[in-house]
Structure formats: structure tokens, C-alpha cells
Symmetry: C2
Subunit: 592 residues, 2 copies
């Protein structure tokens, strides 16, 4: 069916929407693909829905190709299964909760591990029914604290989630590998530039876990790469711990007056003045003790101290990933008031630790190994302690690897310095193991007739987010540039001139293309060529065909939206040539 | 792709689920199409999802064919638009309401009039953009007091809702007619036996309104038909009012002791004993005054008295439709206590009416016209009043047509007696007019440059409900019988015997059919032919092919699921013949 712009429910905007911070958001709204209905909640207009469905089709085809079977769960879910796994509470404020007319507790599903586990428990009784992979393409809900960037991070969104069920670890690994391969094919077909990185599994539990990140400066995830091929979400990077050093012979710790040292830099300057050495002291020789409060899902607040080299900040996202499902809150003035031993700006290991005077749990950066020597607070205003030796003068309650990663840090694989980049999380695959099956009693009979708990994998793709990510990956100043498989049409045919001859030629061409399955958008509006060209560039169909005055001499124009290349075509041969472009990407089948 | 039962995520049940009251629910659960997740909330298993998608495709094709454009709204909606139209309150307990993390009010959309109206207001500024029809196929939510019959009346369900926007009444009528014609094609393609009836518009407002009801004894709607072709939902039937009669010369009313007349029948017996006449008194000569309480959406309670002939009951659904959005509650003992003038069992018009002693609004059945003579309560225990004349001795505050309709009642079109039947509401179309556009300010410039308010139509189809309705319409004791376009497959191919020859022949046949686009379900399980045949009948694919021992002599069997007819086919010609059956419904293209 030809999509006619004269009747299409479309209004393009020349101005950027006021609330749009990123290109995909600006362009998807301006080009009439989506409209905001509420914060983080969007309506799909006709063009946007076509693109969304095209993404869904790619995902569905590749999931079907690995033998995954499609089902469809409700979005409105009862509390009980999520209570059984603890997630009713763990999700905190991110979960939309509601009551029905009888007072029963319900939630809007943020992800469906529990429901799939219960369904397999219900349907599958024997190892003969395994392995099985089930998936759905479904609307999900998360009450994000900061919905942003249009459909990039919404509160109602479309996700493909799938789950594999196996009898043993080897089966889980095979299911995981099949999904990983399918994801590679999906993101290739979506035309995304992406990287696969190691990931924390976060609140989901489980062990092996990878993310598919689309390269993008507006992405919320930071990832690292090493020269040797290591790639990981910054949340998952494990800082290499140096070897412990000998303690014997190190000088004794000594407390000194250090007036006017409110910052690490001023403290380092004092150290270099009093104890000149080569190489000189740097922030990395100081030990900074940062206090935060963990708010646990049950509402309790726990203070936590993190000791790390003074040249590093705590990376809040790394910290949040490590302490999930607890949330991180600042250690405020009231908290200091509650702990008078903590001298703000001069906190040292002396008062920290579960067994120490404050009783506050104290976790150390992996670099703080026994034998390392530190300058740190002396728990007295205006005083610091020098030559404080880890393992001799202080120990922590454990290790916490949450210092920021910076460009040039050594890679965990030892292959050289890390580089950093940003990405949009498009997919996440992980080996859940038996966490959910244990909690919900999903067992099958094995070959010996013994009940065994199944082991699971969980695999997600942000389907609506993919639309935004593709738009981020592929646009220019003038508008969107869709990959053909995702585009709302194959050909955007512009009637650029008045009179029945031009309109007739365009209509005939549109009919000829439509008849052979080419998806045609026909700009038959009563508008100037300039308006039509601007809209064509904004909307971003990959092939633009201009039918104008050239018709009188039998010529029309083909434009490639991505490259801007323009080619004149003889009207008589145009239909066939356009079909070739649509099917092969080139004017001639040989690609010349 | 061939669907193999050996790996299909399917478990058929021999026993009916305990909570299933109607055939479609029993069979859809037993055959592995749906599973209950919570009361009125269901999960679609692979077979069920295929059927649901097939219904969606039919609906989508016919909506596209009338030029309606598909969009997709969120299900999670902000309160404000629903507040502006009053529906935030009017929906009462049927609306799922929730708060987000910031305390903002949201709802789960039960229907989207407000959102579509606001979208058109946003996108369309001129009459040149009209008429336009928009639709979505989307998950909707209603917190039904009594979810029942599986997916027939659920709390989360899939609906197609569309809305037309026109500049004037003639345009609205044309849009309505287009939708009506599309609905006829849709329900024809779904293979449903249905009737189109006049309907109340209920809580939706508006005027012209029709329902598409699928014939079914388990339906919740009752409809009437007349010999002359009148058809209406019983809620919408208007009782013909008889002409008023002369009052002059009628005897005066007189109160009498009527001990031992607790029922209409005993009262009638007394009347016939004391005042013998031909024809004798019947219940229709008595006036029964029924009290109820209306609970308005704002929570206020209003007592209401309905006066109707004593041989009729109040039809609660007719009453609810008439007083919506108010809900109907019983007039309880506390209510009687609050109104001491009302003598239970002997309530007469004497104390009723807004201007009367009780102050209770009093509405009369259309048959209670001036000049009609009644026996009714005298507002004193054990006493009734005789020869009470409407229009002379009492009047009501208005008319309320809520008495039950019974088989044989005169038809409003005067063509003879009404017949009654039950149906499932599958579709509802109505002319909303300007109610929503007025409330939300949806205006466009007309041809004279003047702002005018658009007029709307609203059109719904229960998509998930259609799956159940088709199952109700088409099943037998052994299982489901799907119309081909809706069925999860075209051919259910049963391997009914052991050995490589039989399996090989079946696999080859499946491949040959799959290659030409026939949707094949292959029962390649290691199970007995009896189990496989039972499952084939339960699942209900229209064409069953049995490949068994006959293979050794080159013969297989074709079974028609609906008729049970069995035909032997030569294996060598089977593929072609089965394709013919799938495409034409007959073994030979000429239908012989």
C-alpha cells in the first residue's frame, strides 16, 4: 500500500522540542515518529510504529531461528511470585505497584523471570522437555527516577525478553551461546555500531553476563577496552591488585599538624615540602576515606566507609552496581552528628571498621594491599598521619572496587592501557543459574527419575530503545537516515512540480514500485518542493526519488539519503533501476 | 517453519480446569492456548499467541483497507486528560489507578478517547487534515468486579480501538458507515455467527450506537429481535408507551385492608375475589414500587424509586445502563430506617416523589401513562389502594424504562413479538459527537478560517475476546475447531506408527507443504496414535493428516476436523491435494 503524505497523520516540526537533549529525541519528535504522553511515556505515531514493528520483526525472526518460542505474558502481575524471589522489595521505587478493587497487590512487570519460571514449572515436568527457550516482545514498566532522552530511557517501553531452561551448566552455556549469536545477527541487521562487553549482573543475580552497547556519546553506560581485546562495562572492570609488599623495615607512622590542607593537592604539597623525594608524592600516596549511606530495600540505612587512593573519585555507578539492591545516599550532616568520632575532612582508618570505635563498615580499594604506605587523616581537625602502613597499622573489613576508571589505567588482561567510551545498552545476556528456579521450585525429572532444579539464562533487548539507538547512530543535521530494513519505507517519492504530467508520472512510478513490493511513501501534498525536500531529509527514508520538471524530457532524480549522491534516471527505466537499488543497495546489480 | 510437537512448549490436559465454567475457557486451557496468571489475567502460550496474532491481522487488514492509520498509545496514562472529561471519577472501581514515585496520579487505560482527541488536537490544525481515522491494537485494563470465563472477560485484554474525526455530522456518518462495513468484513472473516444490534452508549456518551454480538448462550448480553428486523441489546430496547386514556368517569381510589398479601400473586387473588371481572386482574394491574440506591462517582448515595407493573422485575443491567455512571446498590435496612414513611411491602406513590413526603425521586415505567388504573401499596402495613389512576391520583418525576423485557413483548417497530437471545459483545461502534472534543478543546480551522470543534466516532473490537468467542462458536466435545484463517496451523500432520518409512514419508510431506507456504504442525512425538489423535482434535487445526501404516501401500488419510470426514489419499499426490484443500476448502478446485 502506498503511503500518501497528503493523508498521512503527520506533522513535522521545524523547531526542536524544548525538552529534547539528544539528537534521536529531537529528530524522532520533529519527524513525527513519536509524541510525549507523560514523562518517559510516549505515543507511537504511524511512521514510528512502522519502524518499531520493523525492529520487532528482525528480533522475532532471529529468535525463531534459534528455536526460541514466542509467548506473551500479562504486564499486570500479581505480587506473590515477586515476593517469593525478594524482588517485590528489591526493586524499590523503580517498581510501579498498584492495588486492585479488592485490595490485592499487583505490579507492572519490569522483567518477567518469575513468570517464565512458574510457567515452565507448570508445563515442563521432564528433562525431555529441555532445553527450551521462550521469549516475548512486550511492554514493560520501570518507574525510572530520571527518564530521559525520549524513548531512550522511558518508563513504558517495549522489550524482548527471553529465558532459557536447561538441566545442567553445559546446556546453559549452549543456550547462552545461541542467544549471543542471535544477538550478533540482530544488531548487525539493525545496522548498529556496537560492542560486546563484560557486565555486572546487578540486581538480576547470576554470574556470566555480557552487554551489547551501541556506540554513542549520549549513552548512559561507560565501557573500557584494552589493546588485547578486553572489553567491559566500567561497572564490571576489576582493578588489578598489586602484589603485597614487605612490611619489615618500614618507618613507624607519625601524626603531624597539617594546617591549611583542605584538599588532597594542598596535603600533597605539604608532604613534598617536608619530605622531599623522587618521585615526588602525588595524590595516589594519600588515602581518602569516603562515607556514604546504603539504603537497603527494607528501608534500613547503613553507613559505609570506602578507603581509596586520593587521586581517585568514587564512581557512583560502579558503587551502585556493587551494592545493589541497596541504593546509595549521601552521608549528610545528621549522619556526621550521629558519629562524633568522624572529623569531616580528616577521617582516617583509626576510627573506621566494624570492630573500631565508629563501628562503620570499612572497605578498601584493591590497590590498598598490605605493605602500601599512606598519608591520611588523623581523626583530629588539622592533623594527618604519615607512613601509615596497610596490614600493619590498619586493615579494612574487605575490598570494594568502586574507584573511577580513567583512560590509561592498566587493563585487567595485562595487555596495556584502557581506553574509555560511552554506549547505549541495547542487549544484556546472562547466565542466571538456579536463583529463580530455586526460589520458585522449578524442578524436572532427570534421566534417572530424580527431581533436579533447572538452570536458567536471561536475555533482553530494548526494542523501543533500539529505535532511538539506531537514530543516534544514523542521522545528520538535516534528519534521520534509516537502514533500509528498519526504515518506514523504501522509497520517498517527491512530486516536485505542478501539473498533471508530473503528478501522473509520479503516480505511475509509485504504482509500479508498489506492485513489486517496494514500500513507497509518496509526497503528493500541495506544498513547495523545498518543504517536501526538507521533510524527506527529516523523515530519513534511504532512497529519495524526485519527479519534477525533468519529466518533460523523460528524466527523474534519484537521491541517496545517506550520501547525498544524486543520479539522473531515465523515466522509462526508472522503476527497474529503483527496484535494483532497493534490493541491492546499488544502481547496478554488480554494485558498480 | 514447521511446528514440531516434539519440541513445542505445550502440555495438553485431559481434565477441565477447576475454575472453567464455559467451553471456550475449558478448551483453550486444556489445549494449551492460554494459562491463568491471576484472576482475569492470562498468559498466551505459543499456540494461543498464533491465534491471537491471526485475529489481529484480520482486524489490521480491514482497518487499513478503510484508510484508518495505526498508532500505538501507552497503557500507562496520566490522570489529567481523564480528569478533564470526568472519567477519572466516572470509571469508579473499574479503573486501575496508581501513583508514580513522585506521587503523580496515573491510570491503566481502559479506552483511549481522551488520548486520541489530544493527539489530533496536537497534530491536526485544519479541516484539510480531516476526515481522519486512527486505530491501535493494544492492551487494555479494566478492574472488572467479576472477571469470568477466561479471556472472555478479563482484566487485561487486547482491544482494537479506533476513533474517527470529522468536521461535521455528514462526515461522522460516513466514517461510521465505513467502520460498520469494515466490522462486517472482520467478523465474517473471523467465522463468527453474529448479529448487529442497537445499543446504549452507556458511560461513553454520544448517540447512534450499535453492537456486534456473537451468538452464544454464555454471552453476558441479551438482545431482542422482531419479525420486522429490529434488533437491539436488551439494554437499549425502548418499551412502546400506550396512548394515554381518558380519566373522566373513572371510579375514585379507595384504600382497603388486604391482610395476607405478601406477594403480587396473593394481592391479585384478593382483587379477583372482591371485584370479579373479565378479563380477571393480573400482576399487570398492580403497580410495584422498587427502591434502590444510586452510588454516584463522587461517592454520594441517592435513593431512587421505580414504579412498574407488578408482573415485571427490574432488569438490573437495563437499570445500570440507564443510570450510568452511577452504580446501583440495594436499598438496605438502614435505608428503610432512614425513611420511616416507607412501609416495606406496601410502598405506594403517595409518599414517593421529589415533592412528596419522602423526597425520593420517583420514576415510572413507560406503561404507566395517564388514565391507567392500578392496585398498589397504601403506605400502611396490610393495606393497599385500589383504582389509583395515573395522572389523576399520582404522577412521577419522570420515566425510566428498566423493566425486564420478556419473550413475546411487542416490538418497538410494531412488527410483532420480540424474541430474546444471548450474545458476546465483540464490537461496539458509536457516534460520540463532540463530548470529548469539547472537553479537551479539539478544534480545527474550517474552510472559512473559523475554529470549529471536531465530531468523533469511537469503534472497538475485543481482539482477545474474539479468540474466546470463536472458540465458543466453533467447538465440539472433543476440542476446538478453528476457522482456517484463525487456526494456529493449516494442517496437523500426525505420524501414526513406528519406523523410518512412516516418519520419512511424514517429514517429506511436511517439508513439501511448508515449502509452498502451508502452515504445518507435525506431531513427531514419541506417543501413541490415540494420544496424538486426541490432541489433534483438542487443538483443532482444520485439516488433520494421518501418516501411518498405509504408507507401505502408498496411502495416507485426510481428516476434516469440523465434519469428521475421512478421505484416503495416494501418498504420491497427497501434497498437491492437501494444498488444494487448504486453499479452497475442497479436495478438488471445483468443490466437488
Amino acid at each position: 500500500m502506498i503511503t500518501r503524505l497528503s493523508t498521512l497523520f503527520l506533522r513535522t516540526l521545524r523547531e526542536d522540542p524544548a525538552d529534547a537533549e539528544v539528537p534521536s529525541h529531537r529528530l524522532l519528535v520533529r519527524a513525527g515518529y513519536v509524541r510525549r504522553a507523560a514523562p518517559g511515556i510516549y505515543t507511537w505515531l504511524p511512521l514510528g510504529l512502522k519502524v518499531l514493528r520493523n525492529v520487532e520483526t528482525v528480533v522475532r525472526e532471529e529468535m525463531d531461528a534459534i528455536g526460541a518460542q514466542e509467548v506473551h505474558f500479562p504486564a499486570l502481575l500479581p505480587r506473590e511470585p515477586y515476593e517469593a524471589t525478594g524482588r517485590w522489595t528489591e526493586y524499590g521505587d523503580n517498581l510501579f505497584r498498584l492495588k486492585d478493587r479488592k485490595g490485592g497487590d499487583y505490579l507492572l512487570g519490569p522483567t518477567h523471570e518469575e513468570m517464565f519460571t512458574l510457567l515452565v514449572k507448570d508445563i515442563t515436568s521432564s528433562y525431555k522437555g529441555l532445553p527450551i527457550s521462550l521469549y516475548q516482545i512486550q511492554t514493560k514498566y520501570r518507574d525510572e527516577a530520571r527518564p530521559r532522552a525520549g524513548i531512550l530511557r522511558g518508563r513504558e517501553f517495549v522489550m524482548k525478553d527471553s529465558y532459557s531452561f536447561d538441566i545442567d551448566e553445559a546446556g546453559l552455556q549452549a543456550s547462552y551461546d545461541r542467544h549471543r549469536a542471535a544477538y550478533v545477527r540482530i544488531f548487525d541487521r539493525l545496522g548498529l555500531k556496537y560492542v560486546i562487553v563484560s557486565a555486572m549482573s546487578g540486581a538480576m543475580g547470576g554470574s556470566a553476563s555480557e552487554e551489547f552497547l551501541a556506540d554513542s556519546e549520549v549513552g548512559e553506560d561507560t565501557y573500557v577496552r584494552s589493546p588485547g581485546g578486553y572489553a567491559a562495562n566500567v561497572e564490571a572492570v576489576q582493578t588489578p591488585a598489586p602484589p603485597a609488599r614487605p612490611i619489615d623495615g618500614l618507618p613507624a607512622a607519625h601524626v603531624e599538624d597539617t594546617p591549611d590542607t583542605p584538599t588532597i593537592a594542598t596535603l600533597v604539597a605539604v608532604a613534598n615540602e617536608r619530605y622531599p623525594r623522587e618521585p615526588a608524592f602525588t595524590g595516589a600516596d594519600t588515602l581518602k576515606n569516603v562515607l556514604v549511606v546504603l539504603r537497603h530495600p527494607d528501608g534500613t540505612r547503613e553507613p559505609l566507609a570506602v578507603g581509596l587512593p586520593g587521586d581517585r573519585e568514587v564512581d557512583l555507578k560502579r558503587l551502585e552496581a556493587q551494592v545493589a539492591p541497596a541504593e546509595v545516599e549521601p552521608f549528610g550532616d545528621e549522619d556526621f552528628a550521629r558519629h562524633p568520632l568522624l572529623v569531616k575532612g580528616y577521617i582516617g582508618p583509626g576510627v573506621l571498621g566494624e570492630a573500631a570505635a565508629s563501628g562503620i563498615r570499612y572497605l578498601l580499594d584493591p590497590r590498598v594491599v598490605p605493605g602500601t604506605v599512606w598519608i591520611t587523616g588523623a581523626d583530629v581537625r588539622g592533623r594527618h598521619v604519615f607512613d601509615l602502613v596497610a596490614g600493619r597499622d590498619f586493615t579494612g573489613d574487605g575490598t570494594l572496587d568502586v574507584a573511577e576508571i580513567v583512560e590509561g589505567d592498566p587493563s585487567p588482561d595485562g595487555s596495556g592501557p584502557l581506553t574509555l567510551a560511552r554506549g547505549i545498552e541495547m542487549g544484556h545476556i546472562f547466565q542466571l543459574g538456579r536463583k529463580y528456579a530455586d526460589a520458585l521450585g522449578c524442578q524436572v525429572l532427570d534421566a534417572n527419575g530424580k527431581l533436579v532444579t533447572v538452570t536458567m539464562g536471561s536475555y533482553g533487548i530494548g526494542v523501543s530503545r533500539a529505535v532511538a539507538a539506531i537514530a543516534e547512530n544514523s542521522h545528520d543535521d538535516r534528519g534521520l537516515i534509516w537502514p533500509r530494513e528498519i526504515a518506514p519505507a523504501d522509497v520517498h517519492l517527491v512530486i516536485a512540480g505542478k501539473g498533471p504530467e508530473i503528478a501522473g508520472a509520479a503516480e505511475d512510478l509509485a504504482e509500479a514500485l508498489d506492485a513489486v513490493g517496494v514500500r513507497v511513501m509518496l509526497d503528493d501534498r500541495n506544498a513547495s518542493p523545498g518543504v517536501k525536500f526538507a521533510d524527506a531529509e527529516l523523515i530519513g527514508v534511504p532512497t529519495v526519488v524526485v519527479v519534477g520538471r525533468g519529466v518533460s524530457t523523460g528524466v527523474i532524480e534519484l537521491r541517496d539519503r545517506a550520501t547525498g549522491e544524486k543520479t539522473e534516471l531515465a523515466l522509462a527505466e526508472a522503476a527497474g533501476q529503483i527496484v535494483t537499488v532497493v534490493r541491492t543497495g546499488h544502481l547496478r546489480p554488480d554494485g558498480a
